[in-house]
């Protein structure tokens, strides 16, 4: 119960911060960190993938509805919430059944954690920009945006993740 409240709080806080603060940064005219996917990164692994998929969908559509964007966040969030266990397997080199409930802890090796974080953020951003541009001719623009925004997002997400980690312990 306690955990549920914690997640609801996290969910709403991240969306509010994303919409009202982070979407207005526009560094160098176009860079905005997408920190709200922190929710999907730090969410527990509890063998209930359907729940995670629904949460990812809910997260994306909430952001799209509040920030008046078309629907790219929904598809990007939905996809990474579906692929999340596979990213974890890839980054941690473990079997699906061996995944720890909480990835973001002192027990996970730093390199593995960064790998997981990078996969989640990069794939999310790539899908996001791909759907926003939706034009094979602007592939360089898509990749450029994805690359720099990923960098920016990870720089912002990493300290928060460390903070969460110390709180969890």
């Amino acid at each position: 119960m306690n955990k549920t409240i914690k997640y609801i709080f996290q969910f709403s806080l991240l969306i509010l911060i994303q919409v009202f603060v982070l979407n207005n940064i526009n560094l160098f005219g176009y860079l905005n960190p997408y920190v709200y996917i922190l929710f999907l990164i730090s969410y527990q692994f509890n063998n209930n993938l359907s729940e995670t998929i629904f949460l990812g969908f809910l997260l994306g559509i909430s952001l799209d509805l509040i920030s008046q964007s078309a629907g790219a966040h929904t598809i990007a969030c939905l996809t990474i919430s579906f692929l999340r266990p596979y990213f974890a397997i890839l980054a941690l080199r473990l079997k699906l059944s061996e995944l720890p409930e909480n990835l973001i802890s002192k027990e996970t090796r730093l390199l593995n954690k960064i790998g997981f974080l990078f996969l989640m953020v990069f794939i999310h951003h790539f899908i996001l920009f791909f759907i926003i541009f939706l034009d094979p001719r602007s592939i360089f623009l898509i990749l450029k945006n994805t690359f720099f925004t990923t960098l920016f997002s990870i720089i912002v997400i990493w300290p928060i993740l460390t903070l969460l980690e110390t709180k969890n312990d």
Binding site: L49, S50, I53, F54, F57, G60, I61, D64, A70, G71, A72, T74, I75, L78, T79, F82, I131, L134
Partner: protein
């Protein structure tokens, strides 16, 4: 049954993902015009290729019939050519005839819905763009709606929201032709004022007030009309010359002066 259920349960997450993804794409297409037109083009390209495949296989079997139609049409065109050449000798004005035709094949034709569409096998590679008129050997077919590289879709004249500018061949009184959705060879002619005489069997031709079609293409004849004393306009039923349910070939009409006309309209 148990096995199907088990398989479903095994791929439960994937199915949830796919259904939510489809919903998201639907959501996206509802909210953004750009994404909607991209999805439309994608689906047009797909259904165009599928129908092309079907056409290619079926095509072979009714070559004799098609040859016959083409021969009769060519005969008719030859006469027009002669008339045209004859006019050229008399006056030089007709050289500036602003329309050009591009032959095309109809890949898909519908006439049972309230809003019907066709798919044609020419696209922007062949110089087709939206809002070009489409005619057949004996009447109107529709107006180009969207184009991809190799295909284009056209709004059929059998479409509830379309109004065509037409006139009487005998006295040039203008009106609008629209489709009520009843049968594919019946249309309604409205906006003809009762001061103009109308009789059953009168021929209706295109009016030339829109940039889609040249003036004077025969469209149909008056089948019946009602003249209500309280109203100033006739209620006329038209029977089309052309049977739109059996069309295989069409001509797309390019209006070389369309851009000029469009510019003028925009300046108003």
């Amino acid at each position: 049954m148990q096995q199907i259920l088990n398989t479903l349960l095994r791929y439960k997450n994937f199915l949830i993902y796919i259904s939510l993804l489809l919903f998201s794409i639907f959501f996206l297409s509802k909210r953004s015009f750009f994404h909607r037109s991209f999805i439309n083009q994608l689906s047009l390209g797909l259904s165009g290729s599928i129908h092309l495949l079907k056409e290619r296989t079926i095509n072979y079997f009714d070559l004799i019939e098609k040859n016959k139609i083409l021969r009769t049409e060519n005969e008719k065109l030859k006469i027009y050519e002669l008339i045209y050449q004859n006019q050229l000798l008399e006056s030089s004005d007709t050289i500036n005839f602003p329309f050009k035709t591009i032959g095309t094949k109809i890949l898909k034709n519908s006439y049972t819905n309230a809003r019907n569409y066709l798919i044609l096998d020419k696209g922007f590679k062949d110089g087709i763009y939206s809002e070009m008129g489409v005619i057949s050997n004996d009447g109107l077919i529709g107006i180009i709606n969207e184009t991809t590289e190799n295909f284009s879709s056209a709004i059929s004249i059998l479409h509830k929201d379309i109004k065509l500018n037409v006139k009487f061949k005998k006295n040039l009184s203008f009106g609008s032709l629209l489709w009520g959705g009843e049968s594919p060879n019946k249309m309604k002619l409205v906006d003809i004022a009762t001061i103009n005489p109308v009789s059953i069997g009168d021929t209706i031709v295109t009016g030339g007030m829109s940039a889609y079609f040249p003036e004077g293409i025969p469209v149909g004849r008056v089948k019946s009309f009602i003249n209500k004393p309280s109203e100033n306009y006739y209620d006329i039923d038209i029977e089309l010359f052309s049977n739109l349910t059996q069309k295989k070939y069409a001509y797309i009409i390019e209006n070389k002066t369309r851009k000029e006309i469009k510019d003028l309209e925009n300046n108003e």
